[in-house]
């Protein structure tokens, strides 16, 4: 609570103060949309701020990676390779803040450049999942009847398989694993989740008073679905998208960890780095520690942001 302006000693707010504040709030609120309103509440939530800072840093680092990273990720440096022994991997030294990896490459630069892969896979997988999920969910929710039944039985089948298992099966089906196959596998896992969520929200919208009112005004069905139902049903889906970013990143890392990711050893990727570090766990645990921390932090950041978003968009939190 803010203390009343203009008085030196804070005094408990009187009824009049609260009235005034409410009037100010209302004045401020005019011309503000629901989205702006939600954003306002997001800014006051410490959880949201922590999440946003982590996500912001992560995105910033991955965009600026080539300029931040001191060295190339794929080059092996002779001065590092020279000190490489089967029982010891060199740690920090001038020019190489995190030391060498198992092949004599700069570990720090690889960590930074790997963030790009993670962001790329996470964002694309989520976007693809979102688009197809929304398409299926909107169709099922708007038409109902047999369209709904058919689409939802298919998503039920997909939902019944544990997500990572499904992603592994899809990735394993491809002849040659690559970044694209990872994205597709991870995206497919999230499609049924989005579809179910949106379908449920659309069905609730169909029964809502304002859709009935719009129908009573002769608004065309297409406009009812696109203007009156879909935007009102998207709230939970947007929240889910943020949370899915976190799980997509985890799933993608898991796939590369299991050797179903991009096979190119030159390309830095946290999951793959973690997998490779296993062999050197007793020699140099830092090789496993840093990628693991990075994956956890990023997933945590997106999850916190998603949860805060869910709270901010919750109509019950509304005055």
């Amino acid at each position: 609570m803010t203390s009343p302006r203009g008085s030196l000693r804070p005094r408990p707010p009187t009824l009049l103060d609260r009235r005034r504040r409410r009037v100010d709030e209302l004045a401020e609120a005019s011309g503000r949309s629901l989205t702006a309103d939600a954003f306002q509440r997001l800014r006051r939530n410490p959880v949201a701020i922590v999440g946003a800072v982590i996500v912001g840093l992560f995105v910033l680092v991955s965009i600026l990676a080539p300029w931040i990273a001191p060295h190339d990720a794929a080059t092996a440096f002779p001065e590092l390779q020279r000190t490489l022994r089967p029982d010891s991997i060199p740690g920090a030294q001038p020019g190489f803040p995190l030391g060498s990896d198992q092949n004599g490459r700069d570990f720090f630069s690889r960590m930074i450049l790997a963030s790009r892969q993670t962001l790329l896979v996470g964002v694309f997988a989520t976007l693809i999942g979102l688009v197809f999920g929304v398409l299926i969910g909107a169709l099922a929710g708007a038409f109902g009847g047999w369209v709904d039944t058919v689409l939802m039985r298919v998503t039920d089948v997909l939902l019944s398989i544990p997500s990572l298992l499904l992603a592994i099966s899809i990735a394993a089906l491809t002849a040659k694993p690559s970044q694209t196959t990872v994205i597709i596998a991870v995206a497919l896992v999230s499609v049924p989740v989005f579809a179910r969520l949106l379908r449920g929200a659309m069905l609730a919208q169909r029964e809502s008073d304002h859709v009935l009112a719009a129908t009573s005004l002769g608004v065309k069905r297409r406009a009812i679905v696109l203007r009156h139902m879909l935007p009102n049903a998207m709230g939970p889906v947007i929240v889910q998208a943020t949370l899915t970013l976190a799980t997509s990143i985890l799933d993608a890392a898991a796939l590369s960890f299991l050797g179903l990711g991009d096979g190119d050893p030159a390309r830095a990727e946290w999951g793959l780095m973690l997998a490779n570090a296993q062999a050197y766990l007793d020699v140099r645990p830092a090789l496993a520690f840093w990628p693991a921390i990075a994956i956890i932090l990023v997933a945590l950041g997106f999850t916190l942001l998603g949860e805060a978003l869910r709270e901010a968009l919750d109509p019950k939190g509304r005055r």
Binding site: L26, S33, D209, L212, A213, S216, L217, A223, R227
Partner: protein
């Protein structure tokens, strides 16, 4: 003058597999002339809202059976195709709902919800529609209408929202407006304003208004003719003055008698109609009929539980009762 809307023998039954039908509206007939305000009055569950939804053809597609006829300008609305009905909704007939907040789309500005109807039915272009929308908001008494076009429903007060809804419903000057308890969600001072506004707009545009309400005060102040519904049937219909001066049906009589009076003696007990809707007898049962109101009726005779009373006309009044309240007693 010929009637604009003629509802004849309207029957709405909700069907469920393995269960007997629930008859919500049971042979309701009434008509509305242009410029007239007709009330449908009754307690919860008597079928007044279902009647209005049936007229708008807004009942769910499945799970109900609507029979009878609903004619507007001699054209049977029940026989129209879905798309033809969509053309008419909002243009020829429209509706105002009970809860103004939930009846507006929360994520788009109010202005867009007005212009949507204008572009849909009057083929207006964006700018013309916006100008017209501002004029409409102005006409229903919303201050600073141009700025309000960009407001979202949650930024408006309850009265303002209901005004906006009225503006939307009247955007295409429909010939028939159905108001389903338009003042129930509002506080009393705003109620009076909204009713005044409706009366004024109806007088200006010549729109026929069907007023659905459980509030006899609304009826007294507004309606030309009143239909009293009980358990899905019209039990009494009369001119407003006639109805209030001499209610003949025991139900109407009880309703009017239950209104607390400011000039009554202090400590006076409020009159109530005993029992509840749950006590109803079915109007038509296989083993003969009955009057649904019998168990709650202070004037019930033996015949009331055995024979369905017929709707009988006496002058402008329609009455469905075996033992109506005598005129003299009703006037008391």
């Amino acid at each position: 003058m010929t009637a604009l809307l003629e509802v004849e023998d309207l029957r709405v039954a909700f069907t469920r597999r393995g269960e007997p039908d629930t008859v919500a509206v049971d042979g309701v007939s009434f008509d509305v002339k242009p410029g007239e305000i007709v009330g449908l009055v009754g307690e919860s569950g008597c079928g007044k809202s279902v009647t209005s939804l049936a007229v708008m053809r807004l009942l769910p597609e499945r799970g109900n059976r609507v029979t009878g006829s609903i004619r507007m300008d001699g054209e049977d609305l029940l026989a129209l195709s879905d798309s033809a009905m969509r053309e008419r909704r909002g243009r020829d007939l429209s509706m105002i709902f009970q809860d103004p907040l939930s009846s507006l789309n929360p994520v788009i500005p109010v202005g867009l919800q007005v212009t949507e109807v204008l572009t849909r039915h009057r083929g207006m272009k964006k700018h013309a529609a916006r100008r017209e929308a501002a004029e409409l908001l102005d006409r229903v008494g919303i201050p600073d209408p141009t700025r309000r076009l960009d407001s979202y429903p949650h930024q408006m007060s309850g009265g303002m929202r209901q005004r906006a809804l009225i503006a939307i419903a009247l955007a295409c000057t429909p010939r028939l407006l159905i108001a389903d308890e338009p003042t129930t969600a509002l506080d009393v001072t705003i109620q009076a304003q909204i009713l005044d506004l409706l009366e004024q707009l109806v007088a200006e545009t010549g729109t026929a208004l069907v007023m659905i309400t459980h509030d006899l005060g609304v009826v007294a102040g507004l309606c030309d003719r009143v239909n009293v519904l009980y358990a899905g049937r019209i039990v009494e219909r009369a001119d407003r003055h006639e109805l209030f001066r001499a209610p003949r049906h025991p139900y109407t009589h009880g309703l009017l008698g239950s209104i607390p009076r400011l000039d009554g003696p202090p400590g006076e007990e409020l009159a109530a109609i005993r029992g509840s809707v749950n006590d109803n007898l079915p109007w038509a049962a296989p083993e003969g009929g009955a009057c649904a109101f019998t168990p709650r009726c202070p004037r019930a005779l033996d015949v009331c539980g055995e024979v369905t009373p017929l709707a009988e006309r006496a002058g402008t009044r329609l009455l469905r009762c075996h033992n109506p309240v005598p005129v003299a007693e009703g006037a008391a």
